[in-house]
Symmetry: C2
Subunit: 329 residues, 2 copies
């Protein structure tokens, strides 16, 4: 079996998650990790792959079938992906929902004019959650969508806590309000405010002598991040933080509650849920599955930017159409 | 907007479910219902559609874009769909899992050689459950699949009860074993026997003077249907049956429990669940969404048999790619 040759651009939590996912897929091999750091300083898990400087990528175009780009959405991906799509098929997890249309256009321009396939915004939200919103909306046009996130660590909110004066370290969990989820599951179609959907729980390590009351107040009153939520703040030691809050669990639910019938008398509830011990490893696993599809599409002559909406599910699988119909239909 | 013109072949519970679903989709119109009964005896809900005899279908080829075939899997669909696919794009819900490969081949031959698209085995299982098995397997290659059905009415098991001597009427509910579902959700990856996954609950109306003990024994010992399950039998009156058990609710869960990480140290759980007040109306809603895809594929020159695995999700939606990226990604 000729393996699909993968490159990873950017080696943080997500890059490592992708690397682990490649190990789970026998038709894939990691060729190299591309980094903006000094390659000698980056240790990877895969013994027969190399670490290169990002600038070397354009010399590797004939050695890599798909480049999985693991940078951040704020500043990395909008620059990196249009650039890399000139030379590679790419996969990314761009997740700034509001900016997806302009990002898609920029990536599409580069990928199309260079004959490559770029699948953008792959992961779980956007990604698997989006797919489930789409399927559920098509099946139940007369209905209402609900997305809940958590329980899980929000990196953005954890970062926001750590920027407060007197905070040494911190982690923030986003937690769905159980009673709201139950109402939705029961087909009650509630109108839910931001506060009614999620609560936020913060574990904070303060610097010695810091004013804890002020830190707590600054967190709870922080606009956009915390002010619209019921937020609890726990002060703990650095040891407790490391021992109990080092993981990156996440998850959530996408629920569509719809009506069918001649008089719309029947409730129909579709729910998709994820419970993830490791958010970056799961996201990496989704990226790798879509890398297989990108490689196939490119081989069949397709090019341009795509999203998960454009990819037939069978394209993700190592199995033939015949095997899939026999084993999974 | 030019509407997609739909025909329904077969007007039982599922045919009526499809008819209701068409009302929820502004880009579709029901042209006619085709029946093996006397058309004059069939009353439908849609005032501007007609009822035709099945034999008239081949005179309607230029009036119908997609024929949704709502017959039974045992004897109707294997005959009807290859025949109808000569003249129409078709959608069906063929659900005899073991016979899907041969059914696919027969339908593919007819559809391909006549330039039509036939999407087979559409619904929720096979259908949405199959899709979720496929996506979850591609994302988590190292894992285990679980499918639970219910709580819901099994038509096959209800029929089996009604065939017993002395039984006037009966309904059977398939119910997942809650503790088994919980173990799976907790990532315990249990090995579960048939008995450990589902229980069967029967509501039986006996004929006057019938031997209730014998009926109960015959149900509980019936091979394939009940012998491998913990089964409870309740004798009730016809009035109670009509009042409390007239609906056709169903649903279930598809769960994949997988491992990721350098040492496979992290659990990742993907769950898809349905809670349906009306099984035939939900199935009908899925069929109608795939009718849209079949029509589009046919217009773009595609032909042959397809399954849900082959259909890019965006093909199901009335919205443009741009709208989908903006609103749902």
């Amino acid at each position: 079996m000729e393996k699909i040759r993968i490159g990873i651009a950017g080696y943080g939590n997500l890059g490592r998650g992708v690397e682990c996912a490649i190990m789970n897929n026998p038709d894939m091999e990691l060729i190299g990790v591309f980094t903006r750091r000094n390659p000698a300083d980056v240790k990877i898990l895969t013994s027969n792959a190399n670490v290169y400087s990002m600038a070397e990528a354009d010399k590797m175009t004939d050695k890599i079938d798909v480049m999985i780009v693991c940078g951040g959405s704020a500043t990395d991906l909008p620059v990196q992906v249009p650039e890399l799509a000139k030379n590679f098929n790419t996969i990314d997890s761009f997740d700034t929902h509001a900016k997806i249309p302009e990002y898609f256009a920029a990536v599409d321009k580069s990928a199309s004019s260079n004959g490559h396939v770029s699948i953008i915004s792959v992961g779980w939200d956007p990604g698997m959650f989006s797919l489930n919103r789409l399927y559920a909306n098509c099946i139940l046009p007369n209905g209402k969508d609900y997305t809940f996130w958590g329980k899980g660590v929000s990196q953005g909110h954890s970062d926001a806590i750590r920027r407060i004066e007197g905070v040494k370290n911190g982690k923030q969990y986003t937690i769905p309000v159980e009673s709201a989820v139950e109402k939705v599951r029961n087909g009650e179609n509630p109108e839910l405010s931001t506060r009614q959907k999620h609560i936020r729980e913060c574990f904070v390590v303060a610097e010695e002598g810091a004013d804890l009351a002020r830190i707590e107040r600054e967190i709870k009153e922080m606009p956009n991040y915390f002010a619209d939520y019921d937020t609890t703040v726990h002060f703990i030691t650095e040891e407790e933080l490391i021992k109990n809050h080092s993981g990156l669990p996440h998850g959530g639910f996408v629920i569509r509650s719809g009506k069918t019938g001649a008089s719309m008398e029947n409730n129909q509830i579709i729910e998709y849920s994820l419970k993830l011990d490791s958010n970056p490893e799961f996201t990496g696993s989704v990226l790798v599955a879509y890398a297989r599809a990108a490689h196939r599409l490119a081989k069949s002559g397709v090019c341009g930017a795509k999203t998960v909406f454009d990819i037939a599910p069978a394209m993700l699988s190592l199995k033939s159409g015949e095997e899939l119909r026999h084993e999974m239909l």
